[in-house]
Amino acid sequence: MRESESSALAVEPVRGAREAALTREDRAQLYRFMAMMRAAEERAVTLYKQGKVPGSFYDGRGQEALCVGAAFVLGPRDRTCILHRDLGAHFVRGVTPDRYLANYMGRTGGVTGGKDGNMHFGDRELGSVGMVSMLPDMALVATGMALSFKMRREPRIAMTFFGEGSTANGQWHEAMNFAGIHRLPVVFVLENNQFAYSTPNELEFAVDPVERAAGYGFPGVKVDGNDVEAVFEAARGAADRARAGGGPTLIEGVTMRMHGHGAHDDMRYVPREMLEDWERRDPLDRYARRLVDDCGFSHDEVERISTEVRSYVEECARRAVDSPMPDAQTASDGVFAEHWAPLGDGQAPWSRWSADQSPTSGDEANGSNGHPRFREAA
């Protein structure tokens, strides 16, 4: 293979990379965030069925490990563009379930205050630029953020998520190509959840998209997307490499969208056996077993995390329902900005960051948007 200077694969050692060493608390956190996503989405379905959610409802059931495992590697000053089946990534970065639920209901307490709905949000205070419906537009936006990090010689990365359906769109190529040319510090997380709405993999591409990464001059890594620690390890490697100037990585997490595209979708196109097969690989069940079998957790401890999360989400749901609807007078506000303001930093719950000596790490950088109950319990 001919390697031009600009597209050569990175070979330099990663500076500052440490052993992953997930602590016991890190593992509890990974489980908490996945459980929080599951519980919050189940709560949102109820609100939808109660008629409290305008429009349709979209969730990421089955994809909890992928978004939580990937986002868990991020440092405070890293930036994200998170997709609609990645609620767990928002939680990792510090969005609380009440703001997610209120966003679905179009209320002022939602992340967008009613300006946009469902999962079309990103909390600018937490370093997230929210998705649009056109996919994978945010791959280019994340690439642009990565360009700014490179231009400023900052050891930061951008992480963006998209489904395998997005890899058919030209903007996917534009992002991969440009990120590859300039070896930008961006991590592309491809969630292959088997279907783009109803279209199966075999009608989406002739070649597994992860293999295309080589054509752009950077590595493609395929992982079991339902194994949170496997995703974490792949993302950690990609993030360390990006931070050290090694350029982008495409991570393909193989998973399954366990619900329809939206609540209106009966999934008649998915064979029953396929769903049953994936049900046996449920990322939460698997991780709960692993915590007990391999990581020294007791059944009770794992159960307690689930119970605490559920009661926390319930409390958040009450707050969301109590949040007022927006004043119609504000519909025309905010079309234009009066001034530019920097994005805020995201929460970085991985223990590596609290041990880091950098001035923006640790509790201060985690800000006040965290999940107080879990921080106390930690």
């Binding site: 949000f121 909390d123 630029v129 929210g130 280019l140 642009g144 360009l147 030209g170 903007q171 905010g334």
Partner: protein, 321 residues
């Protein structure tokens, strides 16, 4: 005050801002070593380095989308579309991402998209368009279209400093044909302020871009008492300036090179119709291109683009009304 061409003034404004502010950088096709298809960034790569005069692959959504991300992080990207027509290939990022981020999430996107627009040189259907109406139908984008060299510099400076996405339409026909005094150093023309390009009492021509020099030429040749309002910014529109000139003269001709239906002329005419109806002494007229693609062959192109004689005829009709 030195005299500069419209093209030199754009270069000058861009260079001034890049010298003043490290966060300003350019990205586009062939803008580095080659200096851009029209040489706006000639010599920039030598002065500012390849990183800040970033040659992009042939991918307009990447040009705009990467700029959105960089702008969210506090850089001030100035994108160059090689021709305004190619914004259609980057339209999704501009309209759906850049234009809506502040409304949806409070994320300011300070970026400029430079759009060499307009016809008159046999560029054909893909190198001659005036796409401003597309942007005006897309909330969240500001739109400017200078007609003089001084404004070309001043509006570009303001566009770069604005915290929003700004579509900057630079008419290719004016690049080397328009020449006027341009202030040295910092020069800012605030967005949203029209200017009186010529004072008069009998008729108002409301124009922007290439139609402004055309209107001035027509008024001079006719030796009539015609006022010319150069809109300069199309969004936000200087509504007061439009109403003021119409209330003064009682007659309005709205002129632009872009196609007719649902264009700036329609918007301005509607504004006058609803806010200044009782001040009118004649129907509001429009001089625009018809709703057809810009043809290649010179006689066909001349038939489509408003010509000096068309402008004079429209003035005569309104003055005689």
């Amino acid at each position: 005050m030195p005299e500069m061409t419209y093209l030199q003034a754009i270069s000058d404004g861009l260079r001034e801002e890049m010298r003043r502010d490290q966060s300003v950088f350019c990205l586009g096709e062939d803008i580095g070593a080659f200096g851009g298809a029209f040489k706006i960034t000639d010599g920039f790569a030598e002065e500012f380095g390849a990183e800040r005069v970033l040659d992009m692959p042939l991918a307009e959504n990447a040009i705009v989308g990467v700029a959105v991300g960089a702008a969210a992080e506090g850089l001030r990207p100035v994108c160059e579309m090689q021709f305004a027509d190619f914004i259609s290939c980057g339209f999704d990022q501009l309209v759906n991402v850049a234009g809506k981020l502040h409304y949806r999430q409070g994320v300011a996107i300070p970026m400029v998209v430079r759009l060499p627009s307009g016809g008159g040189f046999s560029g054909g259907p893909f190198h001659s368009q005036n796409p401003e109406a597309w942007f005006l139908q897309s909330p969240g984008l500001k739109v400017v279209a200078p007609a003089s060299a001084a404004d070309a510099k001043g509006l570009l400076t303001a566009a770069i400093r604005d915290p929003n996405p700004v579509c900057y339409l630079e008419h290719k026909g004016l690049y080397r044909h328009v020449k006027d005094d341009v202030p040295e150093g910092e020069h800012v023309v605030p967005l949203g302020e029209a200017r009186i390009a010529r004072e008069g009492e009998e008729l108002s021509i409301i124009a922007y871009g290439s139609s402004v020099p055309l209107a001035i030429e027509a008024a001079e040749e006719l030796e009539e008492d015609i006022e010319i309002l150069d809109l300069r910014t199309l969004c936000p529109l200087d509504r007061e300036a439009v109403l003021t000139t119409v209330r003064k003269t009682g007659k309005a001709l709205v002129a632009h090179e872009a196609t007719r239906s649902c264009g700036v002329g329609a918007e301005v005419a509607a504004l006058i119709g609803s806010e200044a109806f009782e001040d009118l002494d004649a129907p509001v007229r429009r001089l625009t291109a018809p709703d057809v693609p810009i043809p290649f062959s010179p006689p066909l192109e001349r038939a489509v683009l408003p010509q000096l004689e068309d402008m004079k005829e429209a003035c005569r009709e309104l003055l005689a009304y």
